[in-house]
Symmetry: C2
């Protein structure tokens, strides 16, 4: 095999508030010239940029070890196998994994999952709607949130990669769905393109009254991606025995202080609320079940998803802060090399 | 029938911080001299004093309408039927209800439940371990908290009327049980008399380290009666996928401000925690099931309960603040008239 140059972004400095190019350093190394037994060489096609990357770059107590300073930045990835010493994973296979912000992965295949692409489904789907984002939406809504057809469902960060799917899946299930997003343009997309019953721009004053008008029978299920003040407002409007599926707290990720709970936490008692945090990794073993259902909906044209592609691994550090500024719509991916 | 004088405490002023005699006015009225169709006359035997009374006396948004100023103070009660115009409820029946802080109840029987006393079980049990408190502990632990035999269970306000039962029931179930209470004497009672594996006085510095030492494998289930800082400390020590059954937030009831959530609420996400608030009224329909099991444990000598009786309805207002000062042990009852 030919020896490849590997380009990568390493975490050089932990973010203080926002995360941007100043937190990373660009490095180039030569990959080993031979593959060990069972090893593969994978060329990165897509890198996923996700709010949780901000957590991994910090040293706060979190759900997995923080990325160490100097290490390649962690991230979900999709790639094509260029060389293989592993019978399970032949050359030209598509694999997903977490090899991070680098142009190649070379090593053991333990952390790689084989993807079985279907005609007419673009490869980018396997790192968005049929990957982590889709499974987060699916299991968060139906397993964590226990969505029922009669529910009024509210979704925060509703135009995001997870929220936009949650709302559509809830509509398929028969729920009334109200999205909360950060611009009128996003809100229009949710109602006009994705079929949400209503969408509310939380940056406009009076949005709380709008939420109330949009959920005349109160809120039964809240799929929360943001935490903070938006969540306080939704909790005020929750019905007795309502549920919150806590998927993210993006409003907090740039804060150094511990993330305090809702200001109206007493409602947990007064309204017999259930709050359940979850990680998509809790559901890894059930991914095939979720993917089968979501793929069916996708093939039936019942689910739309938006992918925004940033060209070139070199542009990943500038792009990631857009998740926090709210200037992306749908799933944010970096194309690291051509399919 | 003879016309009776009814003595009562009415809510005269909403509590600002503590609740005490200044919030009530003593009144005496004559009951109607005749019973209407289906009506009964009940002499109050026991009045239950509970932390939630403080909520009812306030005008905050809560799980049922606040007591109106001028109305008889609301409270759980047990009494004996002295006159009856209702075939379902003969004279001398024991009934439980919510007729509040008054020496008699006269009226329709819709809100009364017939009690079927068992020999050797004192009547006071039916307004404590076999009443609201016992059922709160039972359904909170097993249904809301989904206690498993392998769980390390932590209970706050562990020497209280609910907490002391939760811990014993969890021991019967096979759990490791650690109580948190507000004095060394209470802690001794929990470990030496009730069989808790450990008990920790949260008023002593360093109690957080003691909790950690008492739960070497982390906390799986937290039965929370208090909220506030104690809860923050417990949450820090919870395992991934641990659960919190939120039964009360007594540390907050005297506060005018909205009750904010845990300072380390981010753990909900980082550890996939489930927080479930509940009201015992959610389980009214299943009371007979719970009472049967708890009565069996009681008759087998596997459950101890402590009842502290204040003599005389006239002393109720002075007694209720003891729940907040923590100077009671076990269930606080007022004996309003002799059995």
């Amino acid at each position: 095999m030919s020896q490849k140059a590997n380009q990568m972004w390493c975490l050089s400095k932990r973010p203080n508030q926002n995360i941007d190019a100043s937190n990373f350093s660009w490095q180039e190394t030569q990959l080993p010239s031979t593959l060990g037994d069972g090893e593969v060489l994978v060329r990165t096609l897509y890198l996923s940029l996700d709010p949780t990357n901000r957590l991994w770059a910090s040293d706060m107590d979190q759900y997995m070890p923080p990325v160490r300073l100097g290490d390649v930045m962690r991230g979900a990835t999709l790639g094509v196998v260029e060389e293989s010493n592993n019978a399970r994973i032949p050359v030209d296979s598509i694999v997903s994994g977490m090899w991070g912000w680098q142009s190649y992965f070379q090593g053991g295949a333990g952390g790689l999952s084989l993807v079985d692409p279907v005609p007419d489904v673009p490869l980018s789907a396997y790192i968005s709607i049929l990957g982590i984002n889709g499974m987060t939406a699916f299991f968060g809504l139906f397993d964590v949130g226990q969505a029922k057809a009669s529910d009024s469902v509210v979704v925060s960060a509703a135009a995001g990669s997870v929220g936009s799917l949650v709302g559509q899946m809830a509509k398929i299930h028969g729920c009334r769905v109200v999205g909360i997003a950060g611009s009128d343009e996003k809100c229009r997309w949710l109602t006009e393109e994705l079929g949400f019953d209503a969408a509310i721009n939380y940056k406009l004053s009076g949005w709380s009254a709008q939420l109330s008008a949009s959920c005349p029978d109160g809120v039964d299920l809240y799929f929360d991606n943001v935490g903070g003040e938006v969540t306080d407002v939704v909790i005020d409007q929750m019905n007795s025995h309502a549920r919150i599926a806590v998927c993210g707290m993006i409003s907090r990720y740039n804060e150094a202080e511990p993330w305090s709970g809702p200001k109206n936490y007493g409602m947990v008692l007064m309204r017999s609320l259930t709050i359940r945090g979850f990680l998509v990794s809790d559901y890894f073993k059930r991914f095939s079940e979720g993917m089968r259902i979501v793929a069916t909906w996708l093939s039936e044209g019942r689910l739309q998803y938006s992918v925004e592609i940033v060209e070139g691994l070199e542009n990943a550090p500038q792009a990631i802060d857009r998740l926090f500024l709210g200037t992306n719509t749908g799933k944010l991916l970096v194309r690291c090399s051509p399919e």
